[in-house]
C-alpha cells in the first residue's frame, strides 16, 4: 500500500517525491519516459554567475536521492486514465493499475506545433525533440538546420545545438497565418524576446533592452532591425524574415524564406531558398493538463501561464479531494520553480496524511517558490506573476461561490 502516487518524474515530481519520503510516506513515481528527470534532462546552459546548469547531472542527483529514500519508480509506464472510486484514485497504465489516496500530477508541458506548408515532411521536428536528441541521446538531428519560431526556448536550444556542433542557418519567424498569428508578428516577438536579452551577448542585448522601453521605440526597433538579422551566439536571428515553405520530396531538403514587413506581411519577390537537412519548429509551450481534465477539475485559460491550467491554490491542492498539481502543469516556468512547487506539494500531501506541525515548513516552501520565481534565469512569460495572482483569485471565487450554494 502506498500513500502517494506521483505522475511525472521531472523536477517537480522528483522533488515532491523526495519531500514526501522524507516525511515517511510510501511513494510511487510513474513516468512514461525511460529515464527520470523529465524536461530537465535536456537542459544545458551557462548561468549568469558563470556556472553551468547541466540538467542530466541535476536529474541524476534527484533520482539518486529518491532511490536512497526507498521511492519506487515505474518508468516507461504511460498513464492513460485516472479515476476516483470510493475515495481512492485508480491510476490506469499500460502496465498495471495502481491505487492511492493522494495523487500528484506533475506532467509538465507540451510543445505547440507551427503549421507551415511542408511541416509534415520527415525531418521536421519540434525544437524540444532536437534538444532531446542532441543533449539526452547524443544524436545529431542533422548537419544543418533552421529554427522556425523565435522565443525563449528556441533561442536557448539554438545555443545548445551550436555547442554540439550542429550548424543552424538562422532563427526565423513562421509565415503569418490564422494559426501562427502573434508568433509571426515581428513587433510582438521582439517584445517577448527582450526577456531573453540577458542570455545574449553584446549587440542583441543592447539592441533589445535599450531600444525597447516603450511602444514607440519598439516600432522603431522593428523598423530598424537589420534586414540581415542580428547574431546571437553567432546564429543570425531573423525578425524580418519568415519561412513560407518547407520543401523536399521524401524528406526535408530546404526552406523558402522571404522578407516581411513589420506587420508580418510577405514582401513579394524577396523569396530565397536555404538548403537544410532538418527543420525545428518552435511554437512555445503549454501546460499538459490532460489527466487533471479527466477528473472534472475546473480549468482556466491564463495567457501568462501558457494556456489552460487546472485550478489550484498556493498549497498546490486542486478543488478535487486528494488531487494535487505541481510544476509546469500549473503554468510554464523554469525547472527551479517547478522543483520549488514540488516541495510545496510534497508537504501538503504529508499534511493531508495526518502529519502535524508542517505549517511553518509549508509557509517557507511557498515563500521559496515566490523567491525562486523572482530570481529565475529563464522566464517564459514576462507577466507570470500576474498569471499566478489570477489563479489565486479564481480559487477564492470558486470557494466563495460554493459557499453560497451550500
Amino acid at each position: 500500500m502506498n500513500n502517494v502516487i506521483i505522475i511525472g518524474s521531472g523536477p517537480a515530481g522528483l522533488t515532491a517525491a523526495i519531500t514526501c519520503a522524507q516525511k515517511g510516506l510510501e511513494v510511487y513515481v510513474i513516468d512514461e519516459y525511460m529515464k527520470p528527470g523529465g524536461r530537465l534532462l535536456g537542459q544545458l546552459y551557462e548561468q549568469p554567475d558563470g556556472t553551468w546548469w547541466n540538467g542530466i547531472n541535476e536529474s541524476n542527483k534527484l533520482f539518486q536521492q529518491a532511490v536512497d529514500l526507498g521511492i519506487q519508480f515505474y518508468l516507461e509506464t504511460a498513464v492513460f486514465n485516472i479515476e476516483k472510486k470510493d475515495n481512492r484514485w485508480k491510476v490506469y497504465t499500460d502496465k498495471e493499475t495502481f491505487q492511492t489516496t493522494n495523487l500528484l500530477l506533475a506532467t509538465g508541458a507540451a510543445e505547440a506545433p507551427v503549421p507551415i506548408p511542408g511541416w509534415t515532411l520527415p525531418g521536421v521536428m519540434s525544437v524540444g525533440a532536437a534538444q532531446v536528441m542532441t543533449n539526452v541521446h547524443r544524436v545529431k538531428p542533422g548537419n544543418r538546420g533552421i529554427i522556425i519560431g523565435i522565443n525563449v526556448l528556441s533561442s536557448a536550444i539554438a545555443m545548445e545545438l551550436k555547442l554540439a556542433g550542429v550548424d543552424i542557418a538562422c532563427l526565423a519567424l513562421p509565415k503569418n497565418n490564422q494559426i501562427t498569428h502573434e508568433s509571426a508578428h515581428p513587433k510582438k516577438v521582439l517584445d517577448s524576446l527582450l526577456h531573453v536579452a540577458h542570455m545574449a551577448p553584446s549587440s542583441f542585448v543592447k539592441l533589445g533592452s535599450k531600444l525597447m522601453k516603450n511602444n514607440f521605440m519598439k516600432e522603431l526597433g522593428v523598423t530598424f532591425f537589420p534586414r540581415n538579422g542580428v547574431k546571437m551566439w553567432d546564429i543570425p536571428i531573423q525578425l524580418k524574415k519568415a519561412v513560407i515553405e518547407i520543401y523536399g520530396e521524401q524528406e526535408v531538403a530546404g526552406v523558402t524564406i522571404a522578407s516581411i514587413s513589420s506587420k508580418g506581411e510577405v514582401i513579394e519577390g524577396s523569396e530565397e531558398n536555404i538548403a537544410v537537412d532538418f527543420v525545428c519548429i518552435a511554437g512555445g509551450l503549454y501546460p499538459l493538463g490532460e489527466l487533471a481534465a479527466l477528473t472534472g477539475c475546473p480549468f482556466h485559460y491564463i495567457e501568462e501561464l501558457g494556456g489552460y491550467v487546472p485550478l489550484h491554490n498556493e498549497q498546490m491542492e486542486t478543488p478535487v479531494e486528494g488531487l494535487f498539481v505541481a510544476g509546469n502543469i500549473t503554468g510554464i516556468e523554469g525547472a527551479k520553480v517547478a522543483a520549488a512547487q514540488g516541495r510545496v506539494a510534497g508537504l501538503s500531501i504529508a499534511e493531508r496524511t495526518g502529519q502535524h506541525q508542517l505549517e511553518e515548513e509549508l509557509k517557507d516552501a511557498i515563500k521559496q517558490v515566490a523567491d525562486t520565481r523572482k530570481n529565475a534565469y529563464i522566464q517564459f512569460h514576462p507577466e507570470v506573476e500576474s498569471g499566478r495572482r489570477t489563479v489565486q483569485m479564481e480559487w477564492e471565487e470558486y470557494w466563495s461561490k460554493r459557499e453560497q450554494i451550500i
Partner: protein, 90 residues
C-alpha cells in the same frame, strides 16, 4: 505546396483551408469545429493539432470561454491496446 492544402490534423487528414472555411461558415467554437471536420478526433486523440484547432476557432470562429477547456479530454489519453483496456486475456 499551397498553404490552403497544408494538413493540420494528420490522423483525419484535415486541411487548413477546410478548418478556415468551416470556422467562418458556421462561426464555430473549437468544439464545433472539431465535430464538423473531425480534426482532433483521430488515433492520437488530438495531441498534435489541438492547439491549432483552438487557434483557428479563436481567430476566425466564435468567442470562447476562458473558464473551461475548449476541447474536452477523454480517456484513454494515450494510445493503448484493447487488451490493456479491457483486461481480458491478461
Amino acid at each position: 505546396m499551397a498553404e490552403c492544402e497544408m494538413i493540420i490534423c494528420r490522423c483525419e487528414e484535415v486541411t487548413y483551408q477546410e478548418l478556415l472555411d468551416t470556422a467562418i461558415t458556421y462561426n464555430c467554437s473549437a468544439r464545433e469545429l472539431k465535430l464538423r471536420t473531425r480534426a482532433g478526433m483521430g488515433y492520437c486523440g488530438g495531441r498534435t493539432c489541438r492547439s491549432m484547432v483552438d487557434q483557428v476557432a479563436k481567430q476566425v470562429g466564435s468567442e470562447q470561454s476562458k473558464k473551461s477547456i475548449s476541447l474536452k479530454y477523454q480517456a484513454p489519453i494515450r494510445p493503448v491496446n484493447f487488451v490493456d483496456l479491457g483486461g481480458e486475456g491478461k
